[in-house]
Subunit: 554 residues, 2 copies
């Protein structure tokens, strides 16, 4: 009788669709950090029908029994690691960039003109042609290009192309016209309109002058934004990222993330930080959202900006720039306003993620965290984004105040020459000081700041452990005393990033009960030489025990 009742139950269970079955991966070369911070090895990964890890097991363990509908994969010895987490990226900006015209590989002005013409011919929208990545230096041009040269490639619609460093833009005549830029237009503060001998704009605009065109350009349509998010998700899965902390989500970004979540298309865990208070108020003004879509989306914190960037001398420094003694950079918030913003964020339950690049901005943020600490800061995992240039005296304060340093290893290797110019050698102590921060007991979270840098987290691992760029420069690494060990860097892109985003114990590790987010790799990052880390290829990306990316066959 009991057995008959149970038989009826079994019939019901048989109706459960196959996508709710268990998954067993055997014969893997598995690595994970565990919650105690140890690197663990395993051969078998067993995933429940809820997409969570049931167990990891060493080689030689008896395989768990499977039933019809369950899935078994022989990894054939491939390396299996947790899906990686980028603690600082810009998802929509990446997607829009991926879908725009990419001129980074062009070798001459003529080559660029050909690519621009071909791209414009294929683009059937009525909108602007946008793109970037050009570099007159690598073209061997010896000067900036002109609007007339861009018109020669395409003149029918506005074309607007940013330089590889993002600090200059190249417009065609149609774009200049829509933006209303003429001989009479004055250079804005912090920007320059390049002009010919007669004073007419040549077509290239520098820094703040770029806004004149940006303001005139139509924003991407909802349909374009949807395609951009699709492109970003596909790209991020292909480089092995299963989690991103989106630094500065607008209400529009959030609505699109929700659309993808609602429609079951969100193949990434997005820890969202609202683009300031207005975005937070539009998205979830009462309190952070819960984790949505099985841990794939949450409005977790608020992104605030304390200063600008080092390259454009916007980073706010305690002492003048070495290469421009007239300026200390830009302070974005006065002390009272910063403190009020921090305490309001924490009061509502939001984590603070404050962009601070210069040593003055970092000190101001630490001072503000100190002031609000009695009420909030120990309960929150407040974070400083970039924490790029820190006065050595302030480094221990990160640990005392429990402030996460959210750093981007590839920035150091991209910035190394520029940083030395801006700061001077003496001030580099405390700049990109990852090992020093870690030794002081500071929690690090690692990221890329994509699309400013490539999203590929293996580039970040490489930069973190070698302090070299991907041309292996400089020999021995730049200020190698601040390099991380591979295990530290791996934690920075897994468990430590998860901790910074409030998914510790859930994401970034493969232990009982955690999300079964993992990668199958073409080589073992723990045994190859560090110089080879950028060459690691992600062959498969899995999220919640489901495959979301497979490397296309050649």
């Amino acid at each position: 009788m009991i057995c008959r009742l149970l038989a009826a139950t079994a019939l019901l269970l048989a109706a459960i669709p196959a996508d709710a079955a268990k998954t067993l991966i055997v014969n893997a070369n598995g690595y994970t950090m565990d919650s105690a911070g140890n690197l663990r090895r395993f051969s078998t990964l067993f995933v429940g029908d809820d997409g969570k890890v049931l167990a990891i097991m060493p080689r030689g363990t008896v395989e768990p029994k499977l039933v019809a509908g369950d899935f078994r994969l022989d990894a054939k010895g491939r390396t299996l690691i947790p899906g990686l987490i980028d603690a600082h990226g810009h998802i929509m900006a990446l997607g829009l960039q991926l879908r725009s015209l990419d001129l980074t590989a062009t070798t001459s002005l003529a080559d660029a003109q050909t690519k621009i013409a071909a791209y414009a011919a294929k683009d059937t929208s009525a909108g602007w042609i946008r793109g970037g990545g050009w570099n007159q230096v690598s073209w061997g041009l010896g000067r900036m290009p002109t609007a007339a040269e861009l018109d020669a490639a395409y003149a029918a619609r506005p074309v607007w192309l940013s330089r590889v460093d993002g600090h200059a833009g190249w417009a065609n005549t149609a774009a200049l016209k829509v933006a209303g830029i003429t001989k009479a237009t004055k250079d804005p503060a912090g920007g320059r309109i390049l002009r010919d001998a007669a004073g007419n704009p040549t077509g290239v605009l520098i820094d703040a002058a770029m806004d004149l065109v940006e303001k005139a350009a139509p924003p991407p349509s909802a349909g374009e934004r949807e395609k951009a998010l699709e492109a970003a998700l596909a790209h991020l899965a292909s480089v092995g990222l299963t989690g991103v902390h989106d630094m500065g989500s607008s209400a529009e970004d959030w609505a699109l993330f929700r659309t993808f979540g609602d429609e079951g298309r969100l193949t990434l865990r997005i820890t969202a930080y609202a683009a300031g208070m207005p975005a937070m108020e539009a998205i979830s003004p009462l309190r952070p959202t819960p984790w949505l879509y099985n841990g794939r989306l949450k409005l977790q914190g608020i992104k605030l900006m304390a200063d600008g960037a080092l390259g454009s001398r916007g980073a706010w420094l305690l002492k003048p720039y070495s290469d421009e003694p007239g300026t200390r950079g830009l302070q974005f918030l006065d002390d009272a306003k910063m403190k009020n913003l921090f305490s309001r964020a924490n009061y509502l339950g939001y984590q603070v993620a404050v962009h601070a690049i210069g040593d003055a901005a970092n000190r101001q943020a630490l001072d503000a965290f100190t002031e609000i600490r009695p009420a909030y800061s120990d309960k929150f995992r407040n974070r400083i984004e970039h924490a790029q240039v820190i006065d050595p005296a302030d480094i221990p304060r990160f640990a005392e105040l429990n402030i996460i340093a959210s750093v981007q290893p590839t920035h150091a290797t991209s910035d190394k020459a520029m940083a030395a110019d801006r700061l001077g050698e003496a001030r580099l102590t405390g700049a990109y000081a990852w090992a020093t921060l870690r030794k002081a007991g500071v929690k690090l979270a690692l990221g890329s700041d994509f699309p400013v840098e490539p999203a590929n987290p293996f580039y970040g691992l490489h930069a973190a452990v070698t302090r070299q760029d991907r041309q292996n420069q400089p020999p021995g690494g730049w200020r190698p005393e601040d390099a991380l060990t591979l295990q530290q860097a791996f934690a920075g892109f897994t468990t430590d990033a998860a901790w910074a985003g409030g998914q510790d114990g859930k994401a970034g590790q493969l232990t009982e009960g955690s999300f079964a987010d993992f990668l199958l790799l073409d080589r073992d990052p723990f045994t190859i030489g560090p110089a080879e880390l950028p060459q690691v290829v992600v062959e498969e990306t899995w999220l919640d025990g489901k495959r979301v990316y497979v490397k296309p066959a050649k």
Copy 2:
């Protein structure tokens, strides 16, 4: 062996929490419409652990077997009907009104002044005093009230009180001052500032002129809005509504609905219609959302406005108002704009719900639906909200074009005297013409327009079948030839409303596979006299097989 495996499965099942158990309600006096439009009776309702109806069964059927953890309720003969659906309400406005000063029960200007003074004395916030529900007609005032009369009640802070129909607002001098409304202020398009003989504003603002004050009034805080939604949900459950078509959801409303959905606090099925294109663009610009939270929330359509209301002479009529021959009311959209809005909504997959009260507005909407029909209208359940005054020649066009008439029975019984004044007797043919519409083959959906009218759907059932107000006036009913049968009205608040909101077969009925949303009543609406319908008391409200409201013990 098999039996042992099954036993392990049974152990797993035993761990399912009690709230996922089956529910059996026996000994009920059950009614439901079925998908074929028949009224069915039943005694037993059996609900699965997914909150959906497994079966309804007549008296004498052998009870299904339950297991430990399942729930059995003896209804003791009480009447059980599907949860009712209001096809036209304003959820946030109701909530804010429930928490603001309510003047609907005031019987004279003096009575209102006393209540305003008492409320203002109790309100300890620093903000505006807001409220509504006043009606100079029911006060027997014979004219609109003035700012000076409001100052006499309270002058220290701005006071802003909307008329019962929402189409006029009454400001005190402080509110006029903050809004900057003076003799020099021009009437905005679509609105009117009432003035004295000298041209000075008297304090009452009509339709679009209300925006002048609304723009100046501080919006309710996020915390106030949360409390308002809590209040609205509690009230709606207490009157037996398990579904509402929210007519004009803002992006802010939507974010709050999602917060409640995300937090598991949404005790109502909300079919949301965005407040125009800008709200749609902010909420879900690509396409309608899917049904969220197990059928509890969807952005389904777009609410558009073709004209104003009859009471304030904003309804757009084919011929002049009988009691003000100088005006035909207000046209809100030109023909091309209306057609473009309709076709854009349908193109994106959204249902159109267009407010049209006057016969000119109804004709314009029908003309626009005719124009877009080749592309869209048969695929969509486009609807005209109110459909209040229709030229008799246009009535068959609703059926030809498959346009739903979304009508509010209590409007007729509240408006009857005013409507005769505004329209004249001859033009009442085609006004509030529910039976005439139905006979012409038009689909009706019934609602209340709360908070303009009370949300209690039993008031609507009563008005629909009696054409009398709740004082049983006029004897025999007002234009009783347009009364509905109780079964027709019941369908209008259940299956027909569900159809209009895209939940047909799911909500509004208790048949296999539908949501187990139901009410236990203190009496049987199908056997009591129609005059007793407003006295029906909801004792329990259930949603998805879970109790969300129980009448408090006295």
